[in-house]
């Protein structure tokens, strides 16, 4: 009898513990609905602390708790979000990187056309459902240069307007490499495992957009139509890549990492680097010491002028925040509206180093590239980032490797062009 009692007690205990678990689990969700809390999945892990600060400010002001969940550093955010969706654990606001991402979530995103911030920016993402993407920063892709080295070598960056002047500038700098303390003229890395996005997305993005108007879709439409490339334009582009291969840092050309690339540029070992405006944050952050030793040189950006007359750099919102329409929509929209306002913009620009996509924002970041981007934007010399619309996995699984093979000399320029065409067709055949 005693044993039976004991077993009954145990069963009761087990049941009670399960009931208790159920209680806490559902308790938190119910509190999530009633006591005003929203969750944001952020794709820029480097500004995690600034966003958390903003969340605190917002909670103080309105009483709404904002949970920041940052992902990055190789995590496939979309894959993670899909898992959240399957387990009914969707955040209220999450990051979307481009057309493919937005298409996936088609019908599940809140149309924010009625929000006040929409009229304050040109960078919102619009789909068939309406305005679904909230822009939070602007990034620029151009050929970044070290102004001090260029002036010491007697090269005026404004004189680089086409392939010939670019080659001449490279040759001039190359001949003075030793006295300038350079390792190589250009920090061009074509490593395929971790840097495929630099070549496959950003550099190739110049083939798609450089020199074109922001709404000119000529080359992206050709690409989307079964993976077609424009022969003449791509040949000119290949010439430029060949030039980069020739004047790059040979020991790191196909094996270097992003960190090495930025560190070497910040230390003044390269005159040019094939990265965009986001490296400013790394140069003044992680690499601040090296950058200081190199004299905190001025930076600028020139267009990738692989054809005569290309005079634009590529600027765009790199990703957007979307609001899940099954979540806490009102609170999420209110938070985004607040993020577009003056108080939040000050933190985003001055502390996170963002370049605001909002017209009403008057802050200018203390970033090496902020000035040059403002100049290009003011002069209307910017093109869009249509590479965001390329097919899924195109650079990672296809073209990144082709750039690397060209760099290592496995492919000649002719083979580079023909191989590039072949893999592009394969990528778009699927």
């Amino acid at each position: 009898m005693k044993k039976k009692l004991l077993s009954l007690l145990l069963v009761g205990l087990m049941g009670a513990s399960i009931v208790a678990c159920g209680d806490t689990g559902s308790g938190s969700t119910s509190s999530g609905n009633s006591s005003k809390s929203i969750r944001l999945v952020n794709g820029k892990i480097e500004v995690d602390s600034q966003l958390k600060k903003l969340a605190e400010m917002y909670e103080e002001e309105t009483g709404v708790h904002v949970e920041i969940e940052s992902m990055g550093g190789g995590i496939d955010i979309q894959g993670e979000l899909k898992a959240y969706y399957q387990s009914d654990n969707m955040p209220d606001i999450f990051v979307c990187g481009g057309a493919a991402d937005f298409d996936n979530w088609d019908g599940l995103l809140q149309d924010m056309s009625d929000q006040a911030w929409v009229s304050d920016t040109d960078a919102a993402y619009t789909s068939d459902d309406g305005v679904v993407g909230f822009p939070y920063t602007t990034e620029a892709v151009g050929l970044a240069y070290n102004a001090d080295i260029l002036s010491a070598a007697g090269v005026d960056p404004a004189s680089i307007t086409g392939p010939e002047s670019m080659r001449k500038a490279f040759e001039t700098i190359d001949s003075k490499k030793d006295e300038l303390g350079l390792t190589a003229v250009i920090g061009y890395y074509a490593e395929p495992v971790n840097l495929y996005w630099s070549t496959g997305n950003h550099l190739f993005g110049n083939y798609l957009d450089a020199g074109l108007d922001r709404d000119d879709r000529t080359y992206i439409d050709m690409l989307s139509d079964g993976g077609k490339l424009d022969d003449a334009r791509f040949a000119d582009f290949a010439d430029m890549v060949e030039l980069f291969n020739e004047y790059a840092d040979q020991s790191l050309l196909v094996s270097g990492t992003y960190d090495q690339q930025i560190l070497n540029f910040a230390s003044g070992k390269y005159a040019f680097v094939t990265q965009g405006s986001w490296i400013g944050a790394t140069m003044t952050g992680d690499d601040a010491n090296a950058y200081k030793e190199a004299g905190n040189f001025e930076c600028g950006m020139i267009p990738y002028a692989f054809e005569e007359g290309i005079d634009t750099i590529l600027t765009n919102s790199p990703s957007w925040w979307a609001v899940y329409n099954g979540g806490n929509v009102t609170e999420a929209e209110a938070f985004l509206q607040w993020m577009a306002g003056d108080e939040a913009q000050e933190v985003l620009v001055m502390e996170a180093g963002f370049i605001s996509p909002y017209k009403s924002c008057t802050y200018v970041a203390n970033d090496p590239f902020a000035e040059t981007i403002s100049e290009y934007t003011a002069a209307g010399k910017t093109s869009a980032w249509h590479w965001l619309e390329m097919t899924d996995g195109y650079s990672q699984n296809y073209t990144g490797q082709v750039f690397a093979d060209f760099a290592s000399g496995t492919l000649s320029k002719e083979e580079f062009i023909s191989t590039f065409k072949q893999v592009t067709e394969n990528a778009y055949a699927q």
Binding site: V11, S26, K82, E191, P192, S251, D392, G393, N397, T410
Partner: protein, 352 residues
């Protein structure tokens, strides 16, 4: 308690249990936020099992007890293995993209998978990788085991040293070796042959690099198993051999090796299975890159093994259904290997 009242109690419990389970499931499916639905499900299940236990029957009592005791295990197995597997089979015949499905596509995912040259390449190099590793890891592991059971000094230190790589996670290990190949080995080749690309940038050398890292990681583990095998060889047999004048080499091949035959079988299948499932080192080291010309096509996944190919298809190429179809094939291959393994080891045990 007489039989009748017992029977009615058990029937009441059974009915209440069924009602509890069904209503809990119905609540969940209709999307109700009722807090106790989980508890209701558990209480229902317990009531049902209690009713089953109290049911007055002489004939089936033993079966019922067996079922009740097996229930927790079966439940876990069904929830974590059988149901996901069924769902996987189902999704492989749709156009599921991880968020929703719009249509059934029949077997076209399976068809697409075998016409995809890059997938065939992945299959081939995976098989090649498995064969090379099965031999190399076992030979090296056995050699290390022989060394570590001989009478050299500091045997304990060597055993630990060889085993430690196995304790490091595959991703960390991959990045460590990536640094070695890209920064150390590259500098040697640059100095010696003026060869500017790292070992990891060409598919053939990169494949060799993965094999190398895998052996480094796994040989120590296999060594440990062989050491256990070797130490169980009875000393009287070895003594008898040495009295008969057998040399060390003869003792090893004629006495020790046959005595540890069952260990060899275990190790062979262990390496075979784990090499098939190779993922983390592959991902961290090369992420499948490396170009190769195969069947008249330029492929960019020169070092992409099967598991990584499945992952890539689903996640980066955003084709969950096709990835699922490939995973089904992967399951079939692995289960064939496992079945053979069980058969072979059973036979051996009878012989011994």
């Amino acid at each position: 308690m007489n039989t009748d009242s017992k029977k009615s109690l058990s029937l009441v419990l059974l009915a209440a249990g069924c009602f509890g389970i069904i209503s809990a499931l119905a609540l969940d499916i209709t999307g109700s936020q009722f807090v106790f639905r989980g508890a209701l499900l558990i209480i229902g299940a317990i009531a049902f099992l209690g009713g089953l236990y109290f049911y007055p029957t002489e004939k089936h009592h033993k079966t019922i007890i067996n079922i009740i005791f097996l229930f927790p295990l079966l439940f876990c197995f069904v929830v974590t293995v059988i149901i996901p597997f069924g769902l996987g089979l189902f999704y492989s015949t749709t156009d599921w993209n991880g968020i929703r499905m719009t249509a059934f596509v029949g077997l076209s995912n399976y068809k697409a998978m075998f016409t995809e040259i890059s997938f065939l390449w992945s299959l081939i190099i995976t098989v090649l990788f498995v064969i090379i590793n099965m031999i190399a890891v076992n030979v090296i592991g056995l050699a290390l085991a022989v060394l570590c059971t001989s009478k050299i000094r500091a045997v304990g230190f060597f055993r630990a040293a060889y085993f430690i790589p196995n304790l490091i996670g595959g991703i960390v290990l991959g990045y460590l070796w990536q640094f070695v190949f890209n920064n150390v080995v590259l500098n040697w080749t640059l100095k010696l042959f003026e060869y500017n690309s790292s070992m990891l940038s060409k598919y053939n050398t990169a494949f060799f690099a993965i094999v190398l890292v895998y052996i480094w990681q796994y040989a120590g583990y296999i060594m440990m198993i062989y050491i256990t095998g070797l130490t169980t060889v009875p000393t009287d047999v070895i003594e008898a051999a040495s009295i008969d004048g057998a040399t060390a080499v003869q003792t090893f091949f004629k006495i020790k090796l046959p005595m540890i035959a069952s260990t060899i079988t275990i190790c062979t299948f262990l390496t075979l299975q784990s090499a098939f499932k190779q993922f983390d080192v592959n991902m961290a080291l090369t992420n499948g890159t490396g170009s190769v010309n195969f069947m008249g096509q330029y492929l960019t996944n020169g070092t992409q093994m099967l598991a990584l190919n499945i992952y890539n298809t689903a996640i980066t190429k955003n084709n969950y259904a096709l990835g699922q179809a490939k995973a089904v094939l992967f399951f079939i291959i692995l289960s064939i290997v496992s079945i053979i393994q069980v058969r072979v080891s059973n036979k051996r045990e009878v012989e011994m």
